[in-house]
């Protein structure tokens, strides 16, 4: 699915059907890239800014995309770089964000769902305690279900280091969930 859409996006772009290419790109990736950024920045407005910059850079870079890398890892790499650049620029502004305020309880009327939402909120809180890069590794592996080799392309880190990062992240989350 991913690869099919990637080749379609590139094909449409090369055929000059830019509007269709952008539409398919957005359909395929806007939410995935959004959540990739959002899980690090937590705030919607910051995420929106970074996502728009990311897509603009993707779009402008698409002309020179050689196909040496997979399109989707290349896009996630741009999103990651933009996110880290944003964090670097706003280093002085401590991002103190209450996750529960940004969390949406889907259906509070059903106790079972509420219970599920609460556990999920705890998970998000646990993830938020991780360092940014570790958080990104956990997101790409757990939520995006990416292969380590692809995460390596996205973050420019060795597969071994990624595995170690993921292992540490999982342990920290487990400890957080047990203690809360």
């Amino acid at each position: 699915m991913r690869i099919e859409n990637d080749s379609k996006i590139l094909s449409l772009y090369q055929d000059g059907r830019h509007q269709d290419a952008l539409k398919l790109l957005m359909e395929s990736y806007q939410e995935r890239l959004y959540w990739h950024i959002r899980r690090i920045l937590l705030c919607h407005d910051d995420t929106d800014d970074v996502l728009q910059n990311t897509i603009i850079k993707i779009w402008k870079g698409l002309e020179n995309f050689k196909g040496d890398a997979k399109l989707y890892t290349w896009m996630f790499r741009i999103a990651s770089n933009e996110t880290f650049t944003f964090l670097e620029k706003n280093k002085k502004q401590k991002l103190n964000i209450d996750i529960s305020e940004n969390f949406e309880f889907k259906d509070p009327s059903h106790p079972e769902d509420l219970s599920g939402d609460e556990i999920q909120l705890k998970l998000e809180q646990a993830i938020a305690t991780l360092p940014e890069k570790q958080r990104m590794v956990f997101h790409l592996k757990y939520f995006e279900e990416m292969k380590y080799s692809d995460i390596s392309s996205v973050l420019g880190t060795s597969v071994g280091a990624l595995k170690a990062n993921y292992h540490l992240a999982a342990k920290k989350i487990e400890e957080f969930l047990k203690s809360n």
């Binding site: 952008l22 957005m26 779009w59 949406e104 999920q120 597969v159 595995k163």
Partner: protein, 161 residues
């Protein structure tokens, strides 16, 4: 895969079992629906003909035209046998021989056309020549007579150069 890290790859994440992977962060209503069109406007994206395809199409059209012309030349090529004038080698040889025999014979007089020509430098010279031919004393000729000479019937004058 590094064997030392294989246990990490197969990390036992049982504690996450049952937790949905859905994203439950708040997003403004209709955010994703509007994002694509916002970016489309911002990036001024429109469908257009690819310049690469245009070049390829032009090349194909030009090649087709060239191929059609070449094929046409081969199909409609006029037969050279029908157009060429028959060569009568025998006659040509006869004429050439005749010309050479004329040049070689004693009857042939080489004329130096340049030396034999009398240059006409002016009207006066021409008049002198005419007077000499017609035995007229030029002292007695008035300008009217000259006029008459030039206006008279030239055929009556006997040129003896």
């Amino acid at each position: 895969m590094n064997e030392n890290n294989s246990h990490i790859e197969n990390e036992d994440l049982n504690f996450l079992n049952g937790i949905s992977k859905k994203n439950n962060f708040k997003t403004p209503a209709g955010y994703f629906e509007g994002l694509a069109s916002n970016l489309e406007t911002k990036l001024e994206v429109k469908n257009s003909k690819s310049p690469k395809r245009g070049i390829v199409r032009n090349i194909v059209i030009n090649l087709s035209i060239a191929a059609a012309v070449i094929i046409g030349v081969f199909i409609f090529k006029p037969s050279t046998n029908q157009i060429e004038t028959p060569v009568f080698l025998g006659e040509t040889v006869v004429v050439d021989d005749f010309m050479e025999s004329m040049i070689d014979s004693d009857d042939f007089v080489e004329i130096d056309y340049v030396a034999d020509m009398i240059p006409v430098e002016s009207v006066e010279t021409e008049v002198e020549i005419l007077l000499a031919v017609t035995d007229v004393d030029y002292q007695e000729i008035s300008s009217d007579d000259l006029y008459d000479v030039f206006e008279s019937d030239w055929e009556e004058i006997d040129y003896e150069f």
